[in-house]
Amino acid sequence: MSGPHVAEMPAADVPVVAHPQSWRLLLTLGVAGGLAGLLIVLVFNWTRPRIEAYKSQQIRAAIEEVLHAPQRTDTLYLDHGGIATKLSPSADPSKVERIYKGYAADGGVIGYAIGASEAGFADQIVLLFGYEPREKQLLGIKILDSKETPGLGDKIQKPPFYAQFAGRLAPLLGVKGKAPPGDKRAIEMITGATISSRAVIREINNAVQRWQPLLDRYQRTGGTN
């Protein structure tokens, strides 16, 4: 008895809600997505050249620093297991590793700027170092990117630490406290940031170990291939 009565009540009270048709929902999202995509592509095309220019300018400045303002630099490529001055046509330019050869004003070779990236205390420490393979001597280093702890690990980016590397010989050896005078391999690690200091040293040693035979071969063949 009360059944039909209750059933009728809401029908009288609740207003009929018109659900929009499916095509309207699709159209709304489709148009919104299309416009959003268009806007993003426009801004992307506007910002990309600036972003690329900034990155290459960063690398140029770093090369200048670690090779002590060379007269000119050449880009060398790691192609088919060897160092080459020109890329073979089959190589993908975006995936090839590059090092930079710096020349002094008299035409002599100053050394090579080599990039390296390994895990530090927090995320990768990306750096560039200048290296002279005959003497196995470091010319200088520049930290390009690191997220090491502010106040502790980020001291790897400050001169008391990074300025030590210029003139040292590979392989490097991290020491706690004062480095023994005359030791050409010793790098004083930062108090409270041993992991970050050790990471930088290890990174350079690994890169040297990897590039030394390649550079030896490149120089034996006259550095022309």
């Binding site: 309207r24 709304t28 999202l29 919104a32 959003a36 806007l39 972003i51 997220k147 502010p150 106040g151």
Partner: protein, 242 residues
Amino acid sequence: MHEHCGSSAATISVAGKGPTAAQDLLKGIWKENPVLVQLLGGCSTLAVTNSVVNGLAMGLATLFVLVFSSLFVSSLRKVVPNEVRISTYVLIIATFTTLADMGLEALVPETHKALGAFIALIVANCIVLGRQEAFSAKNNVWRSVLDALGMGLGFTLTLTMMGAIRELLGAGSFFGYNVFGPRFEPWVIMVLPPGGFFTLGAILLWLGWWRSMRDRREREKAAAPTIQFHAYEAPAGPAKVA
């Protein structure tokens, strides 16, 4: 729709004047500050306020996303069907977050690097989606933009203030300029994650104390005339009867 508008107009007229443009703008800065009162956006508030520049840049990027999202959401509020409104808001917010991300990388690459993933995370900031659903979806473009501007400014000011406190104590500098000289030993913890919690906690504690003092003063002020009223009313009563 008309009925709804009428009733809301009536409510406003009963309560006195409707919210003015200044009120729409200013409520986000103090009375309904997104961080200090609504306690939203904590992720970026704690994570990127280790320097003034980072706090300011994060605040301005969020302000940009907020204002443009509110502009579009309120303009389209009668066009977008209810069923797909959240998807549309998120799409709009994500688009402007992407633009902010690319814009910052092109214009201020150093700051962009320091803020890292947190620029992209503006898309998930409660303040942004919250304002769309709570305000822009129901109000006209002018009021929505003012609301977004106020909320964005409130967020920016709070983050900049936190950045200033943390940078001063944690690095001894302000905007990168050394303030305390070489003999100051920085409280490194202030620029580390715990420093964010300390700073926000201290500000909220102070704000809570200030608010309770203000309420007490107001209660005392309200209580004072009541006593005088009774004191005056008591002898007047019997006199009237007689």
